[in-house]
């Protein structure tokens, strides 16, 4: 195994494009080192991207959004007051990942590229309309987060491509988001079901919404029908019932040791409804 410490993403992509064996990019290492240790993946080239300028930065974009470096840890995101005020649902999802020790290293992009349908940070990012910058041998392009995972453990990234930043849109006024997951314990577990809701409220009515569901399909899914169920409403009981039905209908879960398909379908409706209520309260400034 060769260990590389490139100084730019172009250099990192070039190393990966040139490699003929297995390559892995290393940021927080909380998945890569576990796979290495278990003998699941032994890379021929391990490319540590933490020596690239800007990877540890959280910066405002010109339009009022956020650009987050790929090596920023969950703990660093959780300590960033202005970012947490704008996107509490995104950050509460990331902060559910692992222990204090894991939070000290784990990253949003690592959670995304691990490709788990149960990844706790991904529904929040998708609901927020986040994008990632994909850098490869042919340059960089901006890709919506929901287009990255293609199945359990699989992503759309081609050989030689690496994610070089995460961008969250400007929050604007009247916005709120939230993420909830179900686990049978209080901490340190993998989501049985997850749900994120992001919405905007103008004059007491929802004008925009995005709903993303986790662990109920081969990837985290964006559910436009669930968003349509609450847009134009004041989130009354009828709107919540329609949201619940849309979330249940979109869920295509499997049965496994964490829960049956029927249980997941029921829980996803409940979580979508509760997350919508939290996001709505946040949007109106009635909750943090």
């Amino acid at each position: 195994m060769r260990y590389h410490t490139p100084k730019s993403f172009d250099e990192a992509a070039a190393i990966a494009a040139k490699a003929d064996g297995k390559t892995r990019f290393l940021a927080g290492g909380t998945d890569v080192l576990v796979q290495l240790r278990a003998g699941m993946v032994t890379p021929d080239d391990l490319i540590d991207i933490k020596h690239i300028a800007g990877v540890s930065d959280i910066a405002r974009t010109a339009d009022g959004g956020w650009r987050i470096g790929v090596a920023v840890s969950g703990a660093e995101l959780g300590r960033h007051a202005a970012l947490c005020a704008d996107w509490p649902g995104v950050i509460e999802g990331m902060n559910l990942v692992g222990s204090t020790q894991v939070q000290g290293r784990a990253t949003l992009v690592g959670n995304l590229c691990n490709g788990s349908p149960a990844a706790d940070s991904v529904p929040g990012l998708i609901a927020a309309g986040a994008t990632v910058t994909v850098t490869g041998p042919k340059g960089s392009r901006e890709v919506a987060v929901e287009a990255i995972p293609t199945g359990p453990g699989k992503t759309v990234l081609a050989a030689g491509e690496v994610i070089s930043a995460v961008t969250l849109p400007a929050r604007g006024t009247g916005g709120g988001d939230a993420y909830l997951r179900f686990i049978p314990r209080t901490e340190m577990d993998i989501a049985v079901v997850g749900a994120a809701v992001n919405l905007r409220v103008v004059g007491g009515r929802i004008t925009e919404a995005r709903v993303a569901l986790g662990a109920v399909a081969p990837t985290v899914i964006l559910v436009p029908e669930a968003a349509a169920a609450i847009i134009g409403t004041d989130l009354n009981d009828a709107a919540l019932a329609a949201l619940t039905a849309a979330a249940e209908a979109a869920a295509k879960p499997i049965s496994d040791k964490r829960g049956t398909a029927a249980f997941r379908k029921e829980v996803v409706g409940v979580l979508a409804r509760r997350a919508a209520l939290i996001a709505f309260a946040r949007a109106k400034g009635e909750a943090k």
Binding site: L26, G29, T30, V34, R37, S73, A75, T100, V102, E187
Partner: protein, 159 residues
């Protein structure tokens, strides 16, 4: 396999070692530097027995490569006492019998020290969530929580 030369600071002392690129920081601390206080429980970041601070951040040293420590400051359980004088956390763990087999204790001491550095007066719930990544199969955790609270009180000068 080309080894990587690493210079770092461990518990205030400059150290150098040659790391195989596949070796974890935990392997390097134990096998190259003889610092066997950090333990390997699971090797996959679940148990916390290998907890160290890397540039002040609490991490599992089994989830860090030895090569990644170049130029970093590492603090291990061996850095807690000053010679024969135990750290308040170490003393309180003994007083409260907050350990039985002791395998998880170094990791819990390092994790608790990191907590008290950023929160000198944590409540029970904060301590339990902070230490959720440190598994102990002997104590049932209650004595650990009390030892951390008592040490925190002493360190605040309130004891």
């Amino acid at each position: 396999m080309t080894k990587i030369h690493v210079s770092a600071t461990v518990n205030g002392d400059p150290v150098e070692y040659l790391a195989d690129p596949r070796e974890s920081l935990l392997d390097c601390l134990r096998d190259h530097l003889g610092l066997t206080g950090s333990k390997e429980g699971c090797g996959t970041g679940d148990c916390g027995a290998c907890s160290v601070q890397l540039d002040g951040v609490l991490v599992c040293s089994c989830l860090v490569l030895g090569a990644e420590a170049q130029g970093k400051k590492i603090e291990t359980v061996e850095g807690l006492s000053r010679g024969e004088t135990l750290h308040p956390l170490q003393r309180k763990f003994i007083e409260h019998a907050a350990l039985q087999c002791g395998f998880c204790t170094p990791g819990i001491l390092v994790a608790a020290k990191a907590l008290l550095e950023q929160n000198p007066d944590p409540n029970e719930s904060e301590i339990r969530f902070w230490l959720a990544g440190n598994l102990c199969r002997c104590t049932g955790y209650d004595k650990i929580i009390r030892a951390v609270q008592d040490a925190a009180a002493e360190m605040r000068g309130a004891a």
